[in-house]
């Protein structure tokens, strides 16, 4: 038995890096400290894809890595408009290799932000984002707002490590010295902890942000008595709390990114933060989902200039979510092949988009079988990043952390290597054709 400390969790955007666990016979046997129930589940492991597979006559048949990789390369090389999607539950090194492959084959490269916090990125492109690292919040925040987010279920360590419950330099008493405001359309485990719970009519967060902004800028007179089902008195109460806070933070989740006005909800949330900043120090942060969804956006931005949904078909970047984003490409039947890596559109894309995924050739790279496997023509199992191989990831606050390798594998291949080998095969095909 070996105890390993400072293990980094590769599950959600919290990227907790203080996990202590025990390993015996190349297996994680016990999580001693640090992980939440969701992270524990990941670290303890699940059933794996046992072998690379190629679909023949409707059935997936086991094959070698070489065969699967060759087949994948053929699919991509032939494609006039391939989609290379996923990239959020893997490391930056794999993302980098994927972007290079997409550039070379003239594909569209997109990550899971497209169905998660893509709207937050679009909003940042409209107005920027005043934010900070999670430790700042831990040490300083006296007013915390969760808006359209339910960390008690989705990011179980978030409040304890970084926000409402944590203790820091100016917050030595933990939640005693802090106030918590929760805004949601329904009561949740998180809202039950709140000092103030604002229950907003579903899909109307936008109006609430605008009303709060008008109040914070001194124009409460124009605001009607009720906004999106919220009494004006409650808006005034929260506005007062905002004005009195020394250091405030708004965390927001998919409750606002996935509802009607989407990125414009976030633009308005950021505009609310800017208005709040006239009264005290204020920041805002998206509750990013996958552990490295942020990292892909970082790598894609420094390499192509744009964060996701990047169409490289002309050899340079054309970026236009709503056009170059995965759901649109599939729903409009705009792409003729797909490489799906470290993600599961089968479970997380609208059915209307999956109908096209069912039609086109699909390559799946993942440690685990999932609904996407049902559509896959080539399945390539990968080593698990953060358990069987190391690599860089970015936490939800853009802090880079390096995943550690804690178990050995003599069979499974890391994502980065799989992508590079596919790329090498593509080059070989091109050379062959050139001859």
């Amino acid at each position: 038995m070996v105890e390993i400390t400072d293990v980094v969790c590769s599950l959600c955007g919290c990227v907790c890096d203080d996990i202590v666990l025990e390993v015996e016979n190349n297996q994680v046997t016990k999580i001693k400290r640090g992980a939440c129930s969701v992270g524990k589940s990941k670290l303890l492991g699940h059933e794996r894809i046992k072998s690379p597979m190629i679909r023949e006559n409707g059935e997936l048949k086991e094959c070698s890595y070489d065969e699967a990789i060759k087949k994948a390369a053929e699919i991509l090389y032939k494609s006039r408009r391939p989609l290379l999607y996923g990239w959020s539950s893997t490391v930056c090194e794999a993302d980098s290799a994927g972007i290079e492959l997409a550039e070379d084959i003239g594909g569209v490269v997109d990550n899971t932000a497209t169905v998660c916090h893509g709207p937050s990125v679009l909003a940042i492109q409209d107005v920027g984002i005043p934010s900070c690292t999670l430790g700042e919040i831990k040490n300083r925040a006296d007013l915390i707002i969760y808006w359209g987010a339910n960390p008690a279920q989705a990011h179980a360590n978030h409040m304890k490590r970084y926000s409402y419950v944590s203790k820091g330099y100016w917050t030595a008493e933990g939640k005693k010295g802090k106030k918590l405001v929760v805004v949601d359309v329904r009561k949740t485990m998180t809202s039950k902890m709140a000092d103030v719970f604002i229950q907003v009519e579903q899909g109307k967060d936008y109006q609430v942000f605008s009303a709060l902004r008008a109040i914070l800028r001194g124009h409460e007179d124009v605001v009607p008595d009720k906004v999106a089902g919220v009494p004006k008195a409650q808006l005034l109460e929260v506005a007062n709390m905002v004005k009195e806070a020394k250091f405030g933070i708004t965390f927001f989740g998919m409750g606002v990114t996935q509802a009607g006005a989407r990125h414009n909800n976030i633009v308005n949330a950021i505009q609310f933060t800017r208005a709040a900043h006239l009264h005290g120090k204020w920041s805002i942060m998206p509750m990013r989902g996958h552990y490295n969804v942020t990292g892909f956006n970082q790598v894609c931005t420094w390499q192509t200039g744009f964060p996701f949904s990047v169409d490289l078909s002309r050899g340079y970047a054309w970026y236009n979510p709503g056009e170059t984003s995965s759901t649109d490409l599939l729903y409009r039947e705009d792409c003729d092949a797909a490489l799906i890596i470290a993600s599961d559109p089968g479970a997380h894309f609208p059915g209307a988009a999956l109908r096209h995924l069912a039609k086109i050739p699909v390559i799946q790279i993942d440690p685990y079988a999932n609904p996407t496997t049902e559509f896959a023509d080539v399945v390539i199992p990968a080593a698990i990043s953060g358990i069987e191989c190391e690599g860089g990831v970015y936490r939800m606050d853009n802090i880079p952390i390096r995943l550690r390798k804690i178990l050995d594998t003599d069979y499974y291949v890391p994502d980065e290597e799989i992508v590079e080998r596919i790329h090498a095969e593509v080059r070989a095909l091109r050379e062959k054709e050139g001859e």
Partner: protein, 261 residues
């Protein structure tokens, strides 16, 4: 006058996917003076490959033109996956006979485009001049800015016969647009100049407006909560309620005007 007819070949739409063709290279100003053979050799993008226009379209040319103004391009066939029709065009006319895909008339500077059908998203994006007529519906982000820009449409005239999608005319700074049908939410978002007239119904129009005007002739489904009612005003004999906003931007910037019937 010269008429260039480009009919998309059926084969282009017959694969497992309907990969869009992108035709910003096919505008009157760029095709003016080209022989039929030269015209057929003009490159257009189809997915990750460049193809000859003549390989994707049946091309026919009639008449002569003394300038680009005298060139009219007629586009036929199934245009639902033909993007960037008339994008960046400076002169002449394009008539698209059917529904067109995204970015029709984007960055347009002059001339005229008539779409005899619906236009997908981003029609008239960053339009600077000329006239765009969409006889059917127009999609989201009509006449809006490109991602991250703080200027959308700055000039020109647009008419939409039917309904329009979300966030039309975002960051509009100039020009005029008439919507004969309904507008989905957030029309005129961040608008700083120009004029939008909506004949049909709309909701939550004009958020973060700092200038320009929106005239609402149809039913208001929901007003933004951050506009101030000023007075009753009469335009061409019709009485309107006049609002000022958006006060979410603060008093100094709240210089946009709404006229609501």
């Amino acid at each position: 006058m010269q008429t260039i007819t480009l009919k998309l070949k059926d084969a282009v739409r017959s694969g497992i996917a309907t990969v869009p063709v992108e035709v910003e290279s096919l505008t009157p100003d760029q095709l003016f003076g080209k022989s039929e053979a030269e015209l057929k050799a003009v490159k257009v993008w189809w997915g990750n490959r460049e193809e000859n226009t003549g390989d994707l379209f049946d091309v026919s040319v009639e008449g002569d033109a003394a300038s680009a103004d005298e060139v009219k391009i007629v586009m036929e066939g199934d245009l639902t996956r033909v993007k960037r029709i008339g994008s960046g065009m400076k002169a002449g006319e394009i008539e698209a006979r059917g529904d067109v895909d995204m970015h029709c008339g984007a960055l347009m500077e002059g001339g005229r485009i008539v779409v005899k059908g619906n236009a997908n998203c981003w029609a008239g994006r960053e339009m600077r001049g000329g006239e765009l007529i969409i006889e059917g519906d127009a999609g989201d982000n009509l006449c809006a800015m490109y991602r991250g820009e703080m200027k959308g449409m700055t000039g020109g005239k647009v008419t939409v016969g039917g309904d329009v999608g979300e966030c039309i005319c975002q960051y509009m700074a100039g020009g005029e647009i008439l919507i004969k049908g309904n507008a989905n939410r957030l029309a005129g978002l961040n608008m700083s100049g120009g004029k939008i007239t909506i004949e049909g119904d709309a909701e939550l129009f004009g958020p973060d407006m700092t200038g320009g005007e929106i005239v609402m002739n149809g039913k208001v489904l929901e007003m933004m909560p951050s506009f101030k009612f000023l007075e009753t005003a009469t335009i061409d004999g019709v009485e309107y309620k006049k609002y000022l906003g958006d006060f979410a931007m603060g008093e100094k910037k709240a210089k946009g005007t709404l006229y609501v019937k």
